[in-house]
Subunit: 144 residues, 2 copies
């Protein structure tokens, strides 16, 4: 097998950061809503491709994070895109359960900067669809 | 003025990384297309809010990067969202000129992982809309 046909040439195109991580944006394939951004290491990228479900790397837990492993809210991956610099991934997904965020909301980007007051302020825009305690059976740590 | 009314409480909600940066995703406000992801430091976030146009921090040039400063392809910002952990921003924008990527494409995510071959491979999906040399008048460095 020649170097140009190495099975992981596609992975070599990725530029991981000093911690060996790359940001991965998850976008709803049907609506285009940006649901979340998390991080992947090389193993998480491989596992995402192998299984067809999003696998991230949890920085807080320092291990692979198979999205939905506790909540059941897995992400079926339809398309993986890479940016011009090779240092950001974009996933088109179907969010099972309709909840991507550990707060029980559809998406993590539920706060919007309100510029109408004396000072800018973050305003919660999106409803909690399901109590996180009912999703996880216990308080849930940050996804970081 | 009390601490709770500090003019930069909104900025204090952001969790910048060890380099003082936060990822910012730019999404087309009309179509929902994710155009790019770049980085902001606190000054870039302030300038984005102040001017209503996206200002990033260029890691390669180690300075503020007023998107479109060379190309004219500025990004008008309509909405700024913050994620649950406070460590990612999402901007809804109008991309002037219709070109976000320094390669002359609409978006930076122009490569898609093709899983139909013997091995996965990145396939270019999106056309170059304008020759970068015509946009910049010279070869353009990475946006990093």
């Amino acid at each position: 097998m020649t170097a140009s046909a190495s099975p992981e040439d596609w992975l070599a195109a990725l530029r991981f950061d000093e911690q060996g991580l790359i940001p991965a944006i998850a976008q709803d394939a049907r609506t285009g809503t940006v649901l979340m951004m998390a991080w992947m290491n090389a193993e998480a990228v491989r596992e995402t491709v192998r299984t067809g479900q999003a696998v991230y790397y949890s920085r807080s837990r320092a291990r692979l994070w198979r999205k939905g492993e506790e909540s059941g809210h897995v992400q079926q991956v339809h398309d993986i895109r890479l940016d011009c610099d090779g240092d950001v991934l974009l996933l088109k997904i179907t969010q099972i359960g309709g909840i991507a965020c550990h707060t029980g909301r559809e998406r993590c980007f539920y706060r919007s900067l309100d510029l109408n007051g004396m000072q800018p302020a973050w305003a919660v825009q999106d409803p909690v669809l399901k109590d996180p305690a009912a999703i996880y059976g216990h308080p849930h740590p940050d996804k970081r």
